[in-house]
Amino acid sequence: MTEFVTIMIVKMVVIFAAVMGTMTYITLAERKILGYMQIRPGPNRVGPWGLLQPIADGIKLFLKEDIIPDKASKAVFVIAPAMALIPAVMTIAVVPFGPTVTILGRPVDIYMADLNIGILYIFAVSSIGVYGIVLAGWASESKYSLLGGLRASAQMISYELSMGFAIVGVIMMSQSLSMVKIIEAQQGVWFIVPQLFGFIIYITAAMAELNRTPFDLPEGESELVAGYFTEYSSMKYAMFMLAEYINIITVSGIVTTLYLGGWSGPVLPPLLWFVIKLLAVVFFMIWVRATVPRLRYDQLMTLGWKVLLPASIVNILLTPIIMKIFGYL
Amino acid sequence: MTPIHIAYPNIFVILPELILMCWVFFMMMADLFISKEKKEVNALLAIIGILLSAAAVFVVMPSGHITSFNDSMVSDSFALFFKLLFCIAAVLTILISRKYIAIEGMNWGEYYTLLLFAVSGMMVLVSATDLVTIYLGMEFMALTVYVLTGYLRHDTRSNEAALKYFLLGAFSSAIILYGMVLLYGVTGSTNIYKVASFLAANDNFSNPVMIASVILLVAGFAFKVAAVPFHMWAPDAYEGAPTSITAFMAVGPKAASFAVILRIFLVALPAMKSHWVPIFWGISAISMLLGNIVAVAQTNIKRMLAYSSIGHAGFIFMGVISGTKIGIASVMLYMLAYLFMSIGAFAVIILLRKTGVRGDEIKDFSGFARKHPSLGLCMLIFLVSLIGLPPTAGFIGKMYLLAAAVEAEYYYLAAIGVLMSVVSLFYYMQVAKTMYIDEEIPGQQLVSSNALTLVVYFCAAATLLIGMFPNRFITSALASVLTM
């Protein structure tokens, strides 16, 4: 029992630290990559190649004055960033970074838990994340925030459906909701091949869920200042940023798990494979951000309801045929 | 991972509702291709769908008592009787709606779609023998009727009616659900036959959970049939709803609710009879008293009919309480009679609806019968039948209900029933007096619709027919009594 608890606590600390570390450097990577894609150097003042930039950002955010608007609904205003951050952190628990390995003579899984409903758990918890955004928008008592919050909730609900339907294909092929079993089912061929259609739907919807460009209408700066977190400052603002980037990692982790074979790969150790794939997905998202302009609101809704949703249902209908072709049935 | 074997279910059992639902989907598609001027084609399509469904009822009929879907649906003569009744009600409603909804400016295909959905929901409800299917059927029926009640989107009365009906209806559904949950908790099954056999084998008579469950179920279902003290929504809903929908509402959902009351209480809960009978007794008595007495004070005829329908609901409860074969048959017979007289009366009200004139006040009937003697006579027949005087269907229905009550020795209840029929004489005859004696309203014109007048004549004929030659109907009702 004590051994179990110790292992869990160590794992918790290590995974959390790793994710936080990766996350901070993803912010830098994003700015750098965007910079190079736009033929400019990006941040390069703090440390060599700007490597200390995230730390400088962190210190800056810590030291800023924490402003709570006068009219704001205080309790909700304070809770909202936490409600955005907590689900983001919770989802990491089931992301399988690597298989069971032996450390100091004990078998240790490189993931917190392998729930038998893993993928559903991720969906359930991440669907809670929208509360942080909606409540932040509502509690700020500011028109930009409110509009941002409303847009976010409408958008997230619209895209959650297609996202859920898109992974049904994967679940059908792997016959399980457990993340580990899904990876094990991809020993032969990664699901991105038979489920290419589902992959495209999933990653589009996932980017909309993350409020990433081109779906960043809830925080579209040209019209809404900063959307739902307009009124936030200091650490509360930082918490929204944290939540957003942790979510990017989680989503990349899910994409890796569901479609890219998870930790499986030749020569290199599994954990490294997972990280490589995860970072590739992150890079892809940054790439999209640099490439695609923001959608108009009606285009967003049309894409969600009239394109992705029917497409995801068609994907479900196609999956049995695909399974037959690939010999799963 | 053990593969699940999904057996192919016997869909023959649900053939009528299945046909109807498929037809609704077809109609929704077809509606897209029907131009705005030709929306009346939808009415025709709807009638065809219902006739197909009715034909299916006759196809299923010879098979007798068959069940399917793990005993959650049954097709017996009791269910089929009600299904046919709904088909008749729906066809009549569609016929009286066609002109009316055009006048109200709401001539969209969805009207018929929703109506047919409601009918299929009611069909599911009367066939359901599992608490889950019963609940779903009830919600199916109720949700469509809420929408139809609010169908006059720009009329605040209609909006108010729909909102009230919806809020209270949702509340009562929750109460029923609570009752069902407790029932499941005690018996471990949602199937009403299994519930019955469990209760027969294990004495749960004084189990407080069971008592709570019975009370909740009674309260919820009493709401659905608008019995006092759960009637508050009815007058507003009846008044605000489009008149054609009021006609439908007064007959269809009410009949379906009574069918399911009979099924639940007589099939699943006969062991608890001495608990629910006194409650129903009280509800029945107070419904008859309050419904009929308050109706006297109404000036709006739709409200008056609403209160009278509360009284009628109280009357019908007599058959439920008696719980005998004759009691069940009399409930069925009464629903049949009520179908014709009620829809007929509402059809006459619709005749008075013109653009700019609502025509649902009692004084709008002034001199109606002198100007339109034959239609006036029809209205008189409906009124007489609603009172329950010979030679009409209402008389036969009430007589059998009273007979059932007397047979089961509920003398006081029967006495209240007779007494309140006398009270109802007063306000129904008020309308007759207005029609025959009061001065004509100058320039009053009727809606010219052949379908509408046809319905009025047909209903009058049917009311008289059942009243004068009741044997055929009584035997068929007795033959299709719920088998327990």
């Binding site: 609904s73 909700v76 038998n116 409903i117 559903l120 758990y121 969906f123 359930a124 669907s127 809670i128 509360y131 909606v134 409540l135 928008g137 509502w138 409303l150 909730s153 409408a154 997230m156 609900i157 959650e160 | 991972m1 053990t2 699940i4 074997h5 999904i6 057996a7 279910p9 649900i14 705005k36 399917s68 879907f69 793990n70 959650s72 779609t113 929703l114 959905f117 929901g121 599911v124 599992d130 299917t133 779903l136 059927g137 919600e139 199916f140 949700l143 469509t144 929408v147 609010g150 169908y151 908790g185 018996t187 471990g188 099954s189 469990f198 294990n202 004084s206 189990n207 407080p208 709570a212």
Partner: protein
Amino acid sequence: MELILFYIFGGIAIIASLGLVTGKNPVHSALFMVVVFFVVAALFVLLGAEFLAAAQILVYAGAIMVLFLFVIMLLRLQKEELRNTSRHAFQKFFGIVLSLVFAFQVIMIFRGGFFKGAKGNFPPDAVKGFGGNTEAVAAVLFTDYLFPFELTSAILLMAMVGAVVLTKKELK
């Protein structure tokens, strides 16, 4: 252990429901409702019904309550407009009396030995036989409850048609 957790979650559920009905601000009430859903999901997990727990959060907390909040925010209800307490004195009195009666009933039920009913059909062993709770739900849903399952989709379709009919600005 399980019992302690049950009492903790049950207690949170009760407190949150009280907050839900007594809260003056609809947004706060909605948030309390989310808490209730969460706690109920936790109770499902305690009962070994993980699938139901996830579905509960996904559907109720994640979708339905977000829509509720959405509507509340759109309506911009202000606290002052919400309660006109003096007008409902009579109803309040009635409500209190009836809830006391109800509380009395519930107490009576507890005293009367509570549940002497039948065991459900799906104790943990039976669920294991299916290979897990997700599989068990699927097995029951697609065989015994196939018809209600399909019927629900028809109801949802109908509700959708109804909602569109009632709210669309211009009907053709």
